[in-house]
């Protein structure tokens, strides 16, 4: 969440309505159709936002940390290393809490579509909103240039509000940790207190 006071929090009711919108959509187009919809939704959102350029990697990381970048428009990002980013809170946490409080337990389709995404795309989603989040960050990173380089986003792990953690296994995880410059233990520590851990690197 940006420090700029003009960027106020959303009303969770709007998020609840959007979740219901997705549930209704899933009833019509199925889990695969919803997945495609969420992906295109996030790509459209990123495409609607202005491109960015930075002279150096440190300037870019500073902008992400200070909520001046497209990547930190909707969430507070804390760099752990030069390449490894962590998100303190999920931007969907308020909406989820309000949904649980006022409506009841989350409809199963939100987990089902995440499982579909984990199987078909990459194993880092716990619920439907992670599909939006990962795709948005990926598309947003592609709109940034640091010097002559493009920027690539890759998720390392996601922890949902209820504590459920989703992360790749085996060599894939080891490779991500090495590129991010953190250990498995450090990842565990981050997931205890943060919602997402991700990687940004120059291409």
């Amino acid at each position: 969440m940006p420090s700029d006071a003009r960027m106020q929090d959303s009303n969770p009711f709007v998020e609840i309505a959007t979740h219901l919108f997705f549930e209704d959509l899933a009833g019509k187009v199925g889990v695969a159709g919803l997945n495609n919809y969420l992906v295109s939704l996030a790509k459209n959102l990123a495409a609607a936002m202005p491109r960015e350029e930075y002279a150096s990697w440190s300037e870019f990381v500073g902008a992400v940390r200070d909520s001046q970048s497209i990547l930190s428009t909707f969430e507070e990002v804390r760099p752990v290393t030069e390449r490894c980013m962590s998100t303190l809170r999920s931007p969907f946490e308020r909406g989820w809490r309000e949904y649980a409080k006022r409506v009841g337990s989350f409809a199963p389709v939100h987990r089902e579509v995440a499982e579909y995404y984990n199987h078909k795309v990459q194993p880092t989603a716990v619920t439907s909103v992670h599909i939006v989040l990962h795709t948005f960050r990926q598309a947003a990173a592609a709109r940034i240039r640091v010097g002559d380089d493009a920027v690539r986003y890759e998720p390392v792990a996601a922890a949902w509000v209820d504590g459920t953690v989703q992360l790749p296994e085996g060599p894939k995880l080891e490779s991500l940790l090495k590129r991010a410059g953190i250990t498995r233990t450090k990842l565990g520590m981050l997931l205890r207190n943060h919602s997402d851990v991700w990687l940004l690197e120059p291409v």
Partner: protein, 206 residues
């Protein structure tokens, strides 16, 4: 974030189903959400209004609602059969500002859905979200009883983020509230509605 993305979702829906389709879609979502909120029962208006003030009712999901207990609605016998309720801030205003500072401007899809609704359903919407929550309130009102009677909801007035106002002549007449009183409320509130006992015989003149 998902609220800001909603604008592009609606843009996409308009391409697929037209603004009319989005209106129907939003109304169905309003029905679905109301159906999942469950029933509520209150002994009388006092306990209901306290519950509204303490954000315990299904209506509170929209945000802070103020019961205007000085503006009672009476029936032909002079008995209180309802009250006006108001929200200082429209649920969608934060999203409009977030879109302004994240993307740059609101999608024209918002206006397209609003106009479709105003022309063909009820001339009261100031943003696309009005479509959803007018239906939502109407449906949850049926599930709330006060002294054993289910409620009916009438959306009376709205004020959009750029200052435009809408007053529902149809609903203002229905609940016998003077339009000037409602207009005055819009100085301080962005959404005003009435909750009355379903089937109450309202006064013809106030």
């Amino acid at each position: 974030m998902i609220d800001v993305a909603l604008a592009s979702l609606i843009e996409d829906m308009i391409e697929k189903a037209g603004a009319e389709g989005v209106v129907e879609f939003w109304q169905r979502v309003g029905d679905n959400l109301a159906g999942r909120m469950g029933k509520e029962a209150y002994l009388g208006w006092t306990s209901f209004n306290v519950a509204v003030r303490e954000a315990r009712t299904a209506f509170s999901i929209e945000g802070e609602v103020t019961p205007l207990t000085d503006m009672a609605i009476t029936d032909v016998d002079g008995d209180v059969v309802g009250y006006l309720y108001a929200m200082r801030q429209c649920c969608y205003i934060p999203t409009i500002f977030r879109t302004r500072f994240a993307v740059g401007r609101m999608s024209p899809a918002d206006q397209a859905v609003t106009e479709e609704y105003n022309e063909n359903v009820h001339n009261i919407a100031v943003c696309n979200f009005c479509v959803f929550h007018e239906r939502f309130r109407e449906e949850i009102a049926k599930n709330v009883t006060v002294a054993g009677n289910p409620l009916a909801c009438f959306l009376l007035a709205t004020r959009g983020w750029s200052g435009e106002t809408k007053i529902s002549s149809k609903n203002v007449v229905q609940v016998n509230i003077n339009e000037d009183h409602v207009r005055a409320l819009l100085r301080n509130y962005e959404c005003v509605y009435a909750l009355v006992l379903r089937g109450a015989r309202l006064k013809e003149e106030r």
